[in-house]
Amino acid sequence: MNLPRFVSFHDVVIERPGESLDADAFDALFRPFEPQNCGNSRADITIVVEHRKEPFPVPSDLPPIFYFGHVQAYGADDVSVISDRYSRLDLRFDKKTLTMGLCPQSEKSLPGVTQAMQHLGLGLMLREYGIFGLHAAGICFGEHALLLIGDCRVGKTTTTLALSVHATGFLGDDRVLFRNDGKTTTLFSYPREFHVDDETAKAFALSVDPSARSMEGKYALAPEHVFRVPHQPRHRGPITLLFPTILGDDTSLVVPMTKARAYGELLVASALTSVQGVRHRQENLDGLERLVNEGRTFEVHLGRDLLQRPEQASKELLRAVGVYP
């Protein structure tokens, strides 16, 4: 399938590389967005690919800013570099270019680590346009949006799948973007593929390819193959923030959460992009604070009922936070 060269991703025009790469994380991400005809004008963000036989060197002249999984990020005023010691992404904020330097060891199929670097790189670049990322799942119910916020393995995907029965649209499974204009927050979708474990796949009757099991024991699935509701590119309206934890009780429990604690949890979940040295840090922090103050905040203790009787349990959960599907 030929993918468009230019795509408008939440009004940011992105130019993709001319060549096609297998397992390119951007293929799935940009698929639902409109192709853009740029004419002779330049895209807002240009993605370039470079290949080398030898691993790309780790930058020696840039200070490290954060470490994430298997990758290290470095940064200075106008440049950031993300490296897994083989491949490396160079972000030039002044030129708005994202250069994916790929080591031939990975041939043309990008390993999972590189895919994560792609998401990270795009996220850093989108900050130049006032768009910030949340480590969250997002799902819409008419005029309401629900964000499930938390680190890995807190139950975001399971809850999102259970809630999706009653939803009208989904924003994302693991990441949602937001922009705050000083008054209100707009949420933007991030429809990357998402990952489920065996138990969740079984509970929601998801067909998975056993050979495509990742090291973490999860399966990657395209959102459009899982959600019964359509992709919703953006949301502007009431936002409810849920902070799930898995307790394993029989039934799920919803408890109000203070704004202060919610802000703290949000910082933890967004720690990577709010550390010192990352550009637009203060805007990001201000945006997170506004998001918490605008929204309603609840802690959700996930029970087995979400897996055993997802339709009823998720309806009760929604009602407990004042969303009536």
Binding site: T251, V254, V255, V321, G322
Partner: protein
């Protein structure tokens, strides 16, 4: 200000069987009739210039005409609040959303919380109750409805006093009120008993907690007073109380509690037989007699027990209800007729 409030014990139905419950209802469920509530509200508005209605129970939501009762109050421009156990709270929310005026006139929903964790709360109230309370708090937050917690303290939960204050604060409550557990006349009195000295210590802890928390921490009537001639808010006439049988009574503590069947000194009068003005005049007579007798007892040096310096306890003792002594509970025993053979409640 005298006559600010009028409080109705709407029903003696309840889904729970709390150990500290004061009510000792009869075999058949009783509900306060809507016409009597409406008439009382009209009279109170007319001559007392009352502006606030409070609803208790039982569980007030279980009154078969609860919505109509709310409408009777709000249509007369009353603000209102109620005390609820938080069970099946979605229905309360539905009732509030059904007619915006009901929500506009609501000052707060007071939810009963008796433990800082599920095990403690449910052991006192009923299994599953804690989760319902948490859900109720969530629903209040979601719909921007102000809410507060009432906590009855006793031996089984007093260790969690500070945790409960913190929890209330974290859940977004406007305030938490700590209520001194009154004797019920049941077997539970023995296991829930705290001595007068322990209660003074509890009061110190509440005072310190109130300074630490940003939400309001209330200490309602009942705790120790150095000066025994204390006049409580109900006895100043601030609140008029109507029990489930349509009688004006001294205060909510006196409603439905075990009594000496031959002692009706605390019953002001039935609103089926007299108007509210006459009931208020009689109320004053009872209060004056009580105060006079208490002054006499003080003069004679008869307030010897530590517990006599706990105003509500002294009042209960005076009117022949269960009360605390240094040895434990005394006074009449509860019958708990309904619990012997549980009857279905509406809901």
């Amino acid at each position: 200000m005298a006559g600010d409030w009028i409080t109705f014990e709407l029903t003696d139905r309840c889904q729970l069987t709390c150990k500290h419950c004061l009510r000792d209802p009869g075999k058949r469920p009783t509900d306060l009739p809507l016409p009597l509530v409406r008439s009382s509200l009209e009279q109170a508005k007319c001559f007392l210039r009352s502006f606030h209605a409070a609803f208790t129970g039982g569980e007030p939501v279980l009154h078969p005409e609860f919505s109509a009762i709310l409408d009777a109050a709000v249509d007369l421009d009353y603000t209102w609040h109620m005390v609820t156990n938080g069970q099946r709270f979605e229905r309360v929310i539905d009732t509030l959303l059904e007619r915006p005026l009901r929500k506009e006139k609501l000052t707060a929903l007071t939810i009963s919380l008796d433990g800082a964790d599920e095990a403690t709360h449910d052991a006192i109230r009923s299994p599953g109750s804690y989760r319902e309370v948490m859900k109720a708090a969530s629903l209040c937050m979601a719909h921007e409805i102000p809410f507060a917690f009432n906590t009855t303290l006793h031996a089984k939960n007093v260790h969690q006093l500070e945790s409960m204050g913190l929890l209330a604060s974290q859940l977004g409550a406007d305030r938490i009120s700590f209520i001194l557990f009154s004797a019920t006349g049941t077997k539970h009195d023995a296991e829930l008993y705290l001595s007068a000295r322990q209660w003074r210590n509890v009061m110190d802890r509440i005072d310190r907690l109130a300074e630490a928390l940003t939400i309001r921490v209330n200490i309602p009537e009942g705790f120790h007073r150095k000066q025994p001639w204390h006049v409580c808010a109900p006895f100043t006439g601030q609140q008029i109380h109507v029990d489930v049988h349509g009688r004006v009574i001294l205060c909510c503590q006196h409603a439905g509690i075990p009594r000496d069947p031959n002692d009706n000194r605390d019953i002001v009068g039935s609103l089926y037989e007299m108007n509210l003005a006459e009931a208020c005049r009689r109320f004053l007579g009872i209060v004056h007699r009580f105060q006079e007798d208490k002054m006499l007892a003080m003069e004679r040096g008869e307030l010897k027990d530590d517990w006599d310096y706990f105003p509500c306890n002294y009042c209960m003792k005076y009117f022949g209800k269960p009360y605390w002594t240094s040895e434990g509970a005394a006074g009449p025993s509860a019958i708990r007729a309904r619990r012997k053979k549980r009857l279905p409640v509406l809901g």
